[in-house]
Assembly symmetry: C2
Homo-oligomer: 167 residues x 2
């Protein structure tokens, strides 16, 4: 099962590798990780997408809560969360394909951030379904390089509250 786990930590050196290490020591696969400061500069939010056995993730969350630099752990259910990811992608682009590429990029609300004589770089964001659609729409172009942020997530306020456990 895939789960989104959001961990609030104090900005101390080592806390990031410590959190990641707790999952990997249990042979839990981390699909993506995104970490950035929050509205409180001394606090970082780490969002992990993990896959594996559900009971194991519950055990890892219990261990996370015992770490001195962990302020809170939120086990976000997909149905109760706004999830978003950002992608930068550079594709090879010949001159005769440029108009087609720009039309597709515009239709999927991707922003073109760089164009050279042989490439184009675009930026786009969305939930997993939207990202999948964009990647399919651009399937005809050869990717030179791609960088993904990994998912971030917040609880949906309008329909319910995520299961929030404060340590």
């Amino acid at each position: 099962m895939r789960q989104v786990v959001s961990v609030l930590v104090r900005n101390h050196p080592g806390v990031l590798s410590h959190v990641a290490g707790l999952f990997t020591r249990r042979a839990y696969n981390i699909e993506s990780i995104a970490a950035g400061v929050t509205e409180r500069p001394e606090v970082t939010r780490i969002t992990l997408v993990v896959s594996g056995d559900e009971t194991v993730v519950e055990q890892v969350i219990k261990q996370l809560r015992k770490l001195i630099d962990v302020i809170g752990v939120i086990d976000l259910k997909y149905s109760q969360a706004v999830t978003r990811e950002l992608i930068l992608m550079t594709v090879f682009l010949s001159a005769e394909k440029r108009v087609e590429f720009i039309q597709i990029a515009t239709s999927i609300e991707a922003r073109i951030v760089d164009i050279s004589d042989q490439t184009a770089t675009i930026e786009f964001s969305g939930n997993e379904r939207q990202i999948h659609t964009v990647l399919m729409a651009l399937g005809g172009f050869k990717i030179k390089e791609m960088a993904r942020t990994g998912l971030i997530a917040l609880p949906i306020e309008s329909v319910g509250i995520g299961k929030e456990f404060l340590v």
Copy 2:
């Protein structure tokens, strides 16, 4: 000095905490980390923003290149890179402030992704300067929760190539 380091790794358990650990063991502060799969499903790109002594980061990069699961390390200069970050932010919002909030959000090209009777959640992306501008523009609203992806980066193809070192 702040540097953006992009590391291509094979998707093996433990490689992420190993990479993060190399920086923190040298007391190097990781400002943000973003990791997601690339166009090759077996390869993950880890983008780190680190601050500290420049010679130390060169040493860490040398050590990274020796790791068996590290395919390549790119030391991206800001001036030669497209850098982007994505933010999800939920603010407290009273009914009488709603029009003002929507006007500001529209003017800064932020997408409103959720509205409840007391809150609004928006999504926006940009480079560091643009993110700073949005945070300033929304400074009058009390933040309930914020999640940031951390920066991702690709070389600017139109003006030059990032210093790319393949292991």
